[in-house]
């Protein structure tokens, strides 16, 4: 039985790993940029430094990690086949890395020509990625809301990239477009319909599986994704109908469903029969608490314009969303996916099952917990720095250090895979 184990649908281990290993270093760059820029970076969301920081985290960290996770997640969670994953990853990732660096440099140094170079690279790399992933998601025989959430999310990624490209071209060539409104729509598609949709869809599968909770209620999984998509579409209509009452009519339900998702995940964690307090569980708890804080803050800013009109209010929401919610949840996921990848691929080598090391040996628990503590400290410092600008440099250093530690932990996991693989090959050859 064991020798015939086959994971023909799983991509080569290098495919997800190359994205995972690159992602944290963009977080390091973001932290260092903040440390160098100091308090000016967080004065408003429109400073060149803030725009560069947003894209270092949103495109550099988040998108890299999410692309890598999708390559692995599609076969494992929804039984889909991604066409030539190694070829796609080898083509997409270098273009995406270069495009991200050009975009960030273009925004930071206000150099339109760099933005113009970045746009075709984004369109080619992410266009190709979207097509390949969409084909895999539409051809799988699987069913369920994880699959539908992933389908909606990949469509939203396409919209996000198109809107981002339009914005970059508008900045590069001075096109007469409503830049602020378009940016808000681009952000809603990127953070809401792409990132949150994917996070929620993946949660339906991995929260019960890895955190040993009961499953999300069916009514919730059936409604959350479609309602989120409808609200993001409605938010986009603000380009045509920019009335205060309409903004409120969309934003309040949006904040409500965020709270329901976060509250539901916390409730499932709280009521599980077997308590697991590993780094992934705690990272998810941090992410959900940050999401609740985002929803409450957003409601306060909407209800009390004297707070909401302060440019730092949006920066506060940005820190909660990017560093608090997504960097936390994605890091927690990578701490499960990387050891699982190691285990899965070591099994393929044909050694007796007891020769394959336990998943817990792939990244030391103390290393993950230590990095988690530093990340939480970094998020708290970032939040404090929004209102106490003197803390910005320290917050930047803490964020850079926590991302570097994450990067080191993931490199360690890849090294351990190689070392265990070589040991197992020796055993198999001797048999």
């Amino acid at each position: 039985m064991h020798a015939s184990l086959s994971f023909d649908q799983a991509p080569p281990i290098s495919v997800p790993y190359r994205f995972f290993i690159a992602a944290p270093w963009f977080g390091v760059m973001a932290g260092l940029l903040l440390a160098l820029s100091g308090d000016a970076a967080l004065a408003s969301r429109w400073t060149p430094e803030a725009l560069a920081l947003t894209h270092l985290v949103g495109v550099g960290f988040m998108l890299q990690a999410m692309c890598g996770a999708l390559f692995q997640f599609i076969p494992v969670a929804v039984g889909g086949n991604v066409w030539s994953p190694k070829l796609v990853a080898n083509t997409v990732q270098p273009m995406l890395l270069l495009a991200t660096l050009l975009l960030v440099a273009g925004l930071l140094f206000s150099r339109p020509v760099l933005l113009s170079f970045a746009v075709p690279l984004f369109l080619l790399s992410l266009g190709g990625f979207v097509v390949v992933v969409a084909l895999a998601l539409w051809q799988t025989p699987a069913t369920g809301m994880t699959l539908w959430s992933m389908r909606m999310a990949i469509g939203a990624l396409a919209v996000t990239v198109l809107l981002g490209s339009l914005l970059a071209e508008a900045l590069a060539h001075g096109l007469a477009l409503p830049i602020i409104d378009l940016t808000n729509v681009h952000l809603a598609w990127g953070l809401g319909a792409w990132a949150l949709m994917l996070l929620a869809g993946v949660s339906y599968h991995v929260v019960p599986m890895f955190q040993l909770t009961r499953p999300y209620p069916l009514w919730f999984t059936h409604w959350f994704g479609p309602v989120l998509l409808l609200l993001v579409i409605a938010w986009s209509s603000r380009l045509l109908l920019d009335e205060a009452w309409w903004t409120l009519a969309i934003a309040l339900p949006l904040l409500t469903i965020l709270s329901v998702y976060a509250g539901m995940t916390l409730w499932l964690q709280y009521t599980r029969r077997r308590k697991v307090h590993d780094a992934t569980s705690i990272y998810f708890r941090v992410a959900m608490l940050a999401m609740l804080a985002f929803a409450v803050s957003g409601a306060v800013f909407l209800s009390y314009p004297e707070f909401g009109n302060d440019p730092r209010a949006t920066v506060w929401l940005g820190v909660l969303a990017f560093a608090g919610v997504f960097v936390s949840a994605i890091t927690g996921m990578m701490y499960k996916i990387a050891p699982f990848l190691n285990w899965l691929h070591l099994q393929r080598l044909g050694a007796p099952m007891n020769a394959v090391p336990n998943m817990k040996k792939m990244i030391p628990a103390e290393a993950m917990t230590g990095q988690l503590r530093l990340h939480v400290l970094a998020v708290l410092l970032l939040l404090a720095a929004v209102w106490q600008p003197g803390l910005a440099r320290l917050a930047g250093i803490a964020f850079a250090a926590s991302c570097a530690w994450l990067g080191w932990n993931l490199i360690g996991a890849a090294r351990r895979y190689r070392s265990f693989r070589d040991q197992i090959r020796e055993v198999v050859l001797r048999c």
């Binding site: 064991h2 994971f7 969670a77 929804v78 599986m209 890895f210 040993l212 009961r214 499953p215």
Partner: protein, 73 residues
Amino acid sequence: MTTVIDGRELQPPEPMERTLEALDKLAEGDDVLLLLYCQPHPLFNILRNSGYAWSEEIQPDGTREIRIRRAPG
């Protein structure tokens, strides 16, 4: 005889490891009943390639009952 493996409170890859161990000892006509809250696609791939058949039923509490036996023929 049915071997029941309740994987709902086990962290991956333990449910898969226990299932594969149980299948190694499976006698003719016996089956394995695996209880999970998710669809184990990596396990399905192994079963497909190793000559096993399975059926799946979802219970109202979200539990998936996956019954595995040797494929006929």
